[in-house]
């Protein structure tokens, strides 16, 4: 962080004289932004969350008061990023206590004293800066470690693949299918709910399922024709060999990753009916991790070209699995496969290694966001800004109108091209007080759309709605696809905080 850049302080007070007093005491050292009520403050925060280093907040204001501002800052997670110092002349212990409970950092009482105000502000900003730098350091190290781990696992898994004369696609596919099947399984069968936290780990471990092939001679491994019984016996050893390799790892035996990798290596050729190898386990004796990877392995083997076979089309492969032509599987897993059948091919196309980076990132975010002592800072923001650029790029390729809807305070943002098509400004701030519907839509449609924005739930965050919009001056029947983001209020109730959307004219109806 460049200390030569002046930090910005947001002063929120309905009394002009109070704002000027504080500004007068601080403007030699900081850039001052003023808001005359809670609503204005929230609108500023929505636009410049990351720019603001500290908020001086009055408690009693007409309209949205200081408490309201603190509540919304909690809902949107801003409270972890920006220190709030109360400046109320309020002396009621209850109110002060509640403000501290809602995350206020400090309190400056009236009358204001230059030394006190300047010192509190400077100390608070320094403290937050220090914490910010520390958590940045921690996050960078975790990120590097996670990347190194994934990289090593990928290298290890690829060694086998390349000896096999295959591209890296197989292990990538296994990873995707395993992930998808597990996600479906935990939703479908409550007895597997406990796996939820391990889905990423099992998927990573799945890429190691064939490491035992390292000990199989090339001549057998790459033989195009059918195996002789002796050759098949040697080939079969790869399962146990993989498990032995992992068993020889003398450190971190309790790591879930190693535990799952062991199960998967050893038992991914077992069969539900007990006729698999190497141990002939039957039914639920086979660990669920190995069952899932086994199914993923068979599906991908069927739909890929191998040295001994051509690729079957998706439909045919699924039929063969259902008919037990390629093994025998847990009926629940077959149901899961049926459920995800339609998603599978598109999932492959969607997935790139970028997703891996994203998922590393979300893991770190998860770790650090749970740590109240060290909220996420610049590292996150930097990453988000990269993601943002990526988003912008893809958005620019989209045919349609992209928008963003914020719930509290309500605000609509468009890309410049979309705003132009609709003939409106890029940002419609403060929908609460605008008191009318925006120009690109009539009242009936606007009320309908507004209602829909509140119709999702944390379990169903994406949906489509139909509405008439005025595009390029023409009333156009559109499909609007919406993705909601949910968060929790201070008392744990789920609430939507923002929504992203894409409006496209419905085919054949543009000229309505």
């Amino acid at each position: 962080m460049d200390s030569s850049i002046r930090k910005k302080i947001l002063i929120v007070d309905d009394v002009d004289l109070n704002r000027q007093l504080l500004a007068g005491l601080l403007e030699d050292y900081y850039d001052i932004i003023e808001a005359k009520d809670g609503n204005e403050a929230l609108l500023i925060l929505q636009e410049k969350t990351t720019d603001i280093s500290l908020i001086l907040l009055d408690m009693i204001m007409p309209g949205r008061d200081g408490m309201e501002v603190l509540k919304v800052m909690n809902e949107n997670g801003w409270i972890n990023e920006i220190p709030v110092v109360m400046i109320s002349s309020e002396t009621m212990p209850d109110i002060i206590r509640l403000a501290y409970k809602l995350g206020a950092t400090d309190f400056i009482s009236r009358p204001f004293d230059q030394v006190v105000v300047q010192t509190r502000v400077r100390n608070t900003i320094l403290l937050y800066d220090k914490q910010r730098r520390l958590s940045e350091l921690v996050a960078e190290q975790i990120l590097e470690k996670t990347r190194n781990n994934s990289l090593l696992i990928a290298v290890l898994s690829h060694i086998v693949e390349f000896r096999n004369g295959e591209s890296g696609m197989h292990i990538l596919h296994i990873n995707i299918i395993t992930h998808l099947l597990l996600r479906t399984l935990i939703k479908k069968a409550s007895q597997y709910k406990y796996l939820e936290k391990d889905i990423d780990i099992i998927s990573t471990a799945s890429t190691m399922h064939d490491i035992g092939k390292i000990s199989i001679p090339d001549t057998i491994l790459n033989k195009p024709g059918k195996f002789t019984p002796e050759e098949f016996n040697i080939m079969k050893q790869h399962a146990m060999n993989g498990a032995l390799i992992l068993d020889k790892v003398s450190f971190k035996k309790d790591e879930p990753l190693l535990k799952y990798a062991y199960e998967i290596c050893r038992w991914h050729h077992e069969r539900w009916d007990g006729r698999g190898y190497p141990d002939g386990l039957k039914g639920d004796e086979i660990p669920i991790s190995a069952q899932v990877v086994s199914l993923a392995d068979v599906y991908d083997a069927l739909t890929s070209e191998r040295c001994y076979k051509k690729a079957f089309p998706h439909k045919k492969a699924v039929d063969m699995i259902y008919n037990n032509e390629c093994g025998s599987f847990n009926p629940i897993l077959l149901e899961c496969l049926r459920d995800v059948e339609d998603e599978l091919p598109s999932e492959f196309n969607r997935f790139t290694w970028n997703h891996q980076v994203e998922s590393d990132f979300s893991k770190i975010y998860e770790i650090t966001s749970k740590d109240e002592e060290h909220p996420m800072y610049s590292q996150t923001f930097r990453q988000i800004s990269y993601e943002h650029r990526k988003c912008n790029f893809f958005e620019s390729l989209l045919d349609g109108i992209v928008f963003e809807y914020a719930y509290n305070p309500r605000m609509l943002k468009f890309r410049p091209d979309g705003a132009k098509k609709l003939g409106i400004p890029r940002i419609i701030a403060d929908l609460d007080n605008a008191g009318k519907y925006p120009g690109f839509v009539d009242q009936e449609n606007w009320e309908y759309i507004q209602k829909q924005f509140y119709s999702g739930s944390p379990d169903k965050t994406t949906f489509d709605i139909d509405a008439d919009l005025t595009i390029d001056g023409k009333r156009t029947h559109c499909q609007i696809s919406i993705q909601q983001i949910w968060n929790k209020t201070t008392d744990g109730k789920p609430i939507p905080v923002s929504a992203y959307g894409l409006a496209r004219p419905k085919k054949g109806m543009e000229e309505k």
């Binding site: 309905d14 009394v15 002009d16 004289l17 109070n18 000027q20 007093l21 007068g24 005491l25 009693i60 007409p62 109320s88 002349s89 309020e90 009621m92 009236r110 009358p111 204001f112 004293d113 230059q114």
Partner: protein, 117 residues
């Protein structure tokens, strides 16, 4: 009239304010802004229109503003009125408490006008 004369004539201490805000010209500027501050008008309106919420908020604001400018007596009178109105109902005390605020405020405003004239 000097700033010192002004604080003397309203019976408050310039030194206290200077200790906190450090610069005379800064204080003079804020005294000018005090004339434009709507809190007292709002308070008057609150009483006239029987608008308890408005009256409470205005009393509360006036208390803070007055204390910042070193108007100790006005701040204390506004504080008493604030606490009287906090349950959001006018009481028998409200009117007399308001009269005290009115008198103190009138005296301060007259003196600021003389100072800035």
């Amino acid at each position: 009239m000097t700033l010192q004369n002004f604080y003397d004539s309203i019976g408050e201490s310039l030194d206290d304010v200077l200790n906190r805000l450090h610069k005379e010209e800064r204080i003079t500027k804020y005294l000018g802004l005090f004339l434009q501050d709507p809190s007292f008008n709002d308070l008057e309106k609150g009483f006239a229109e029987n608008d308890i919420e408005k009256a409470f908020r205005a009393a509360h604001t006036l208390k803070g503003v007055a204390s910042n400018l070193g108007f100790q007596k006005l701040s204390e009178a506004s504080s008493a009125l604030t606490e009287d109105l906090r349950p959001r109902a006018f009481t028998d005390n409200s009117k007399p408490l308001f009269s005290t605020v009115l008198n103190l405020y009138g005296n301060i405003v007259d003196n600021i006008r003389t100072l800035l004239a």
